[in-house]
């Protein structure tokens, strides 16, 4: 290294032409000869001819590229892209750190009673028995093709339409319609299927926005959006803060303010990203609010993406209204409305990777279709799901039972928290509740919230997601997912929180 740096200075012309070309040239020539002679005996490569290597050397000295000079002997490691460099850094979001910790030391009532209880992953485990039963009774037939002579593999082995088979789109259309209360029908030709909702959202972003553009996102929001919407698209997310006093419901004036402020600094807003039902709060957007949002989008000429992935996880009495329903019934410009959906939450099948983009915009659909080549759903899974989703009796039973069980868990969990003096925001959907733990914070603020999060994770050994990871402007709120628990585990959770609360109260006074 020390030898090379002064040479570089010479090469860059400070030592004059002779020194600049002759000396480094000669030195490298001898270095190369040395390396050639000491090459591994197993190498069968033909050593480059002297004339070729001299030519190369001349090339090298003419360019002052540092990496060329230093590549002899590979002193500098080969670089990866700036994007990759930023992704390779250890994840500092509590959302991901918590997930890792919980998976390293997972709680098990019998085998690991002191493990970390996972309340940070919005997964629904309450109705697996129903799905398992269906599998046992139907799997053999479901993997076979429908038609006579349609052998089990050749129908699904070959290239399928990259944006999903028509059979699955039709089955999904029926399922979505049922999930959203039958109020709206979905058109299979307006669907683009993807390997999960994660690529659906990213693909939509690629279609609607250029590098450096922005989306308005009401807070608190799902921490994964920071990755899904921003990483590779280069898009910015502008938080639009919602407050406890409004029960974390979006206000148009806050949206307007955020829009204008962003515009002022020269960034172009391409759309609003909504989650309805909301994650992490779990509330629903009213029909009125959806109309207001559509007016706003029209006025600013921007898109609306509505992530409705929890539409089938309603436990409250409030009715879910899809933006598709509103757009149908009123005279709105549909071309700016796009819905994201998937089966990870409502049907408990995150591993199967089934998501979709539903759009009213033919140009968006055309572009998105071409992009699905990078994230298509695996054919055997498509076939399995066509069978499952077409079983109307099973789906009906599943939806009714699922709603009941989520509601039971919700009520038990929220009551448990209330018993500890912890209040939850009003919510009627999702697999989680939004709890106000500000009373447990030692110093009110983001730092205090993170300190509490850490103690909850490492001392009380429960993994819940702090509001700051969700960009919540008010400290002290935590998302607690309760659908990965058994009923018997709820008292354990509450006991651990109580113990921590008592310790803190004692240390305070």
């Amino acid at each position: 290294m020390r030898l090379v740096v002064p040479l570089q200075g010479v090469v860059q012309g400070r030592g004059g032409l002779i020194f600049g070309s002759l000396i480094p040239c000669a030195l490298f020539y001898f270095l190369q000869l040395y390396l050639k002679r000491h090459r591994s005996p197993n190498s069968r490569s033909n050593p480059p001819s002297p004339s070729a290597s001299a030519q190369n050397l001349a090339e090298l000295t003419r360019t002052s590229s540092r990496s060329n000079l230093l590549s002899r002997g590979s002193i500098v490691p080969v670089l990866i892209s700036s994007l990759a460099t930023s992704i390779s850094k250890p994840n500092d979001s509590p959302y991901y750190i918590g997930l890792d910790k919980a998976s390293e030391d997972p709680y098990d009532r019998i085998d690991n009673p002191d493990g970390v209880i996972q309340l940070g992953l919005s997964e629904n485990r309450l109705c697996f028995d129903l799905i398992e039963k269906w599998m046992l009774e139907n799997l053999k037939d479901s993997m076979r093709g429908r038609e006579e002579g349609d052998l089990s593999i050749s129908g699904i082995a070959s290239y399928q339409p990259l944006d999903g088979t028509m059979e699955l789109k039709m089955a999904m259309a029926g399922f979505m319609s049922r999930v959203m209360g039958g109020a709206v029908s979905f058109e299979p030709s307006q669907m683009v299927l993807t390997a999960g909702a994660t690529p659906a959202i990213e693909t939509l972003c690629f279609c609607l926005a250029d590098h450096g553009n922005a989306f308005l996102v009401p807070t608190p929001y799902y921490p994964g959006f920071d990755r899904d919407m921003k990483w590779r698209t280069g898009v910015e997310l502008i938080p639009v803060h919602c407050r406890n006093t409004d029960n974390f419901v979006l206000s148009i004036s806050a949206l307007n303010q955020a829009f204008n402020q962003t515009r002022k600094r020269g960034t172009k807003i391409r759309g609003i990203l909504l989650s309805n039902p909301a994650n992490p709060v779990g509330n629903l957007l009213s029909r009125e609010m959806l109309c207001d949002l559509l007016y706003f989008a029209r006025e600013k000429n921007i898109h609306i993406i509505s992530d409705e992935i929890f539409a089938g996880s309603i436990y409250g009495n409030e009715e879910f209204v899809s933006i598709a329903d509103v757009v149908d019934s009123e005279d709105f410009d549909k071309s700016r409305v796009h819905i994201v959906y998937g089966l990870s939450k409502d049907l408990s099948l995150p591993g199967f990777r089934v998501g979709m983009i539903y759009s009213f915009n033919e140009n968006v659909l055309a572009a998105a279709r071409k992009l699905t080549r990078f994230s298509s759903i695996s054919a055997p899974t498509q076939r399995l799901l066509v069978s499952m989703l077409s079983d109307a009796r099973f789906i009906e039973e599943y939806m009714v039972t699922n709603k009941k069980r989520i509601r039971n868990m919700h009520d038990l969990f929220v009551a448990g928290l209330e018993g500890l003096g912890i209040r939850c925001a009003d919510s009627s959907a999702g697999l989680y509740c939004w709890a106000d733990m500000s009373k447990l914070i030692l110093t009110y603020g983001e730092k205090g919230e993170l300190e509490l999060w850490e103690k909850l994770l490492h001392v009380a050994k429960i993994n819940i997601t702090p509001g700051s990871a969700c960009h919540c402007i008010e400290p002290g709120w935590f998302r607690c997912c309760f659908t990965t628990l058994d009923k018997e585990d709820i008292p354990v959770v509450m006991e651990r929180i109580r113990k921590l609360a008592d310790t803190r109260a004692a240390s305070r006074g």
Partner: protein, 438 residues
Amino acid sequence: MAIEIEKPSVGLSKVAVSETHGEDSPYFAGWKAYDENPYNESSNPSGVIQMGLAENQVSFDLLEKYLEEHSEASSWGEGAPGFRENALFQDYHGLKSFRQAMANFMEQIRGGRAKFDPDRIVLTAGATAANELLTFILADPGDALLVPTPYYPGFDRDLRWRTGVKIVPIHCDSSNNFQVTPEAMEAAYRCAESMNLKVRGILITNPSNPLGATIQRSVLEQILDFATNKNIHLVSDEIYSGSTFSSSEFISIAEVLETRGYKDSERVHIVYSLSKDLGLPGFRVGTIYSYNDKVVTTARRMSSFTLISSQTQHLLACMLSNKEFSENYIKTNRERLTWRYDMIINGLKNAGIECLKGNAGLFCWMNLSPLLEEPTRESELALWKVILNEVRLNISPGSSCHCSEPGWFRVCFANMSEQTLEVALGRIHKFMEQRRRN
């Protein structure tokens, strides 16, 4: 109140409106012609025969037999004990058993001459996604990758579209059977520099698509030396590695690294998939195998956008870890592809057409330059149109593969029955005879 008036309707992104998806090129126009008038032995015997799709249908029966005899692969066992875990499994590390099975399968294909560590395998939904992902990781927007010509037309889209990365071709020609040379690589590098493009890597396909030939060891060594010399990455797309006609002729870059004691291997990455070798493109199974820890870590994280269904991982883990099945499959598949290749080469020879000497892949590289009016791209496309519309065969013109010499065409032979191939050869024979008479 600001209202955007420059666009009456809401706008889309540059990516959405760009033509980089390439679907307006002749390569895809031929597919459209086929879709509109597809050949069928009984119902449409005069339709267009699809010879532009590199799909392997010669060994389906082996897969079917396996699945019939091993129902545990398609299900989760008695009482489905593993189902719950599997359905919930969305970990981007992928099922350990599946990665192990893939590593073993890749070793088997290479006759055990290279070892693969399952923890260096990153899973993606297809090699298309793997190539794009690697490009995002190895290069910044505006940077360049060097790719030898002729190359798979899909690269123009997969490597460039969303990544913003450019391809600078390394020109190869028939004087040495289209092999890469150090001079050609150097020329491409200089060309990139003259356009102020930073070269981040070189991407080779071995066995080559569309040439249908493996890269010789000496050439691989030269390519690796070049990459080392320039301190850039080397991506080896080995998607056809299991479709070689003899087990000994294919040399993987992994073997070259093994011989060198893995010195300087952090610049090397291998892409693989089951779409060609196992004939399962619908399953969407691809992998990145990287010798670079940082690349493995970041690729894994980024694979969240392109995960393989856990159901499929489970099924394939069962199938590929069955040594009896995988050994038999690799051997039989090779034999059948060789048979097909001989059949098409002889058929073309009888019609007076020469092909590049090939030893791998699902296609042959046919030389029709003697038939061209002029040695130009336009002449080649005119001939291609004649073959599409009159002979009714969809074959891929070399220009869509960026071949610098006009008159070469890629012809696929494994995506149809033997009878259909006979029909296609018959049509070519007739066409050549007519031309001779005129």
